[in-house]
Symmetry: C2
Subunit: 250 residues, 2 copies
Amino acid sequence: MLDSISYRRAPADAPPACPAPEDAGVCSSCAARALSVCGRASDAAVQRLSQLTETLTLKSGDVLAREGDPADAVFNVTAGAVRVYKLMSDGRRQIVGFLFPGDFLGLSPSPDYAYTAEAIAPTRVCRFTRKSYLGVAAEYPELESALFSRSSDELAAAQEHMLLLGRKTAGERVASFLLDLSARAARRGENGDIVVLAMTRGDGADYLGLTLETVSRILSSMKTRRLLRQLSPDSYAILDREALRRMAGR
Amino acid sequence: MLDSISYRRAPADAPPACPAPEDAGVCSSCAARALSVCGRASDAAVQRLSQLTETLTLKSGDVLAREGDPADAVFNVTAGAVRVYKLMSDGRRQIVGFLFPGDFLGLSPSPDYAYTAEAIAPTRVCRFTRKSYLGVAAEYPELESALFSRSSDELAAAQEHMLLLGRKTAGERVASFLLDLSARAARRGENGDIVVLAMTRGDGADYLGLTLETVSRILSSMKTRRLLRQLSPDSYAILDREALRRMAGR
DNA sequence: CGAAATTTTGAACCGTTTCAACGGACGTGG
DNA sequence: CCACGTCCGTTGAAACGGTTCAAAATTTCG
């Protein structure tokens, strides 16, 4: 590269600040925030649920849930990032999604987890047992509606991702991914013009159905074509969003 | 091919017989059957819902829902087959799923359909308006639980399909597809050892993220390798399920 | 029966993967 | 503080799986 800038990744010693700061250790605000996002949960349900909740602080590599294990907990991410994936016996991996603050895991009533979920950065989550969740849900049907709605959004995202995996070219995949990360960051109240790739190239590749080399090559070409500017190894400024949109297809 | 047998597709003049035969035109049994599959809906909810239901008879090519249109109806397929897909502007298509008798469409609370759904054979569906569905759901929370459960199964299937699209080889995809069709047929009470490809090779390809030529080639090689025997252009007998399983991976 | 659509098969091509090498960032221990 | 090993990202070159293009065979349907 022409300009060999010396980068430094963000220090990885402590969980990053929570966008909606919570009283450390107390999880009521977490449950409230998590549920209020859905817009329909009653205050009473929030109160009940937050009593049944514990906060976990995880470091990169910690496993929240393992494919095939009994699904006895529901999680809500409050800080950090999580990868959710499925494995084949020979090690091939498909990441089916990344979780960021505000996202849920484990809502499905299925008895076992169908995926493994692993922190990929210092991460904080709220955890409630499925049993306690079911008790509250039975009492407050609007909670179930709210989470059903969330779950449906997830299904729609999964269908969009099937289109990406089944029909898009490598360039279209990476462009779509960057725009998606940007939109999600904006929805969390962060700056949508700066995309932070909280995951490695390998993780990105396993999400996009590519190899890490292909992801790296495409990011490089986006840099030389002035669509992106690399701010650090894991964050990029979007210079030409319109070109990225065209490149993403649909 | 060595043996050039003369095949004949099943005649396509009338909707095939419904597995649980219903009084033609009357939809109460349909709603009952649809909901009872979930195992939790009360008789009262079934009664209420069936009053709000109409039966539609569709021919191949008829559209149930179009991507972007307001999602004001929920469907339950009682006979036939439906393809659900997303399109790119240049015509590339990803089929995100096929619907067979017993399957639902349109459960998501999202205001618009995120996909197009089209009959690919003579098909019968029960249709209820979203408005009437919401009314009943508000009154009978167990209905919502039951459909949430269905929807979660769909999400799990979508995640499994992402693994297929992102990481499996062409042979693994086709083998997985055949086993999946077989399992779904068995769940509907049909013979799981005979797989009916209700869709064209092109539809299969657009589901598997391949071209129709690749699908055809792989089916041919499965025939010559005695994993399958072709009973008609659209139905195959599974001769070696174990080999298919190995071939499907995971 | 004849036309249109679908399926099958072959051969050339190409986008992505695979294999390989190198460089930078970071943690560890001397 | 520097040497060392590891992990991650980048880049190049060769190989390959699946696509594209083309044509023929079969099936479907009016």
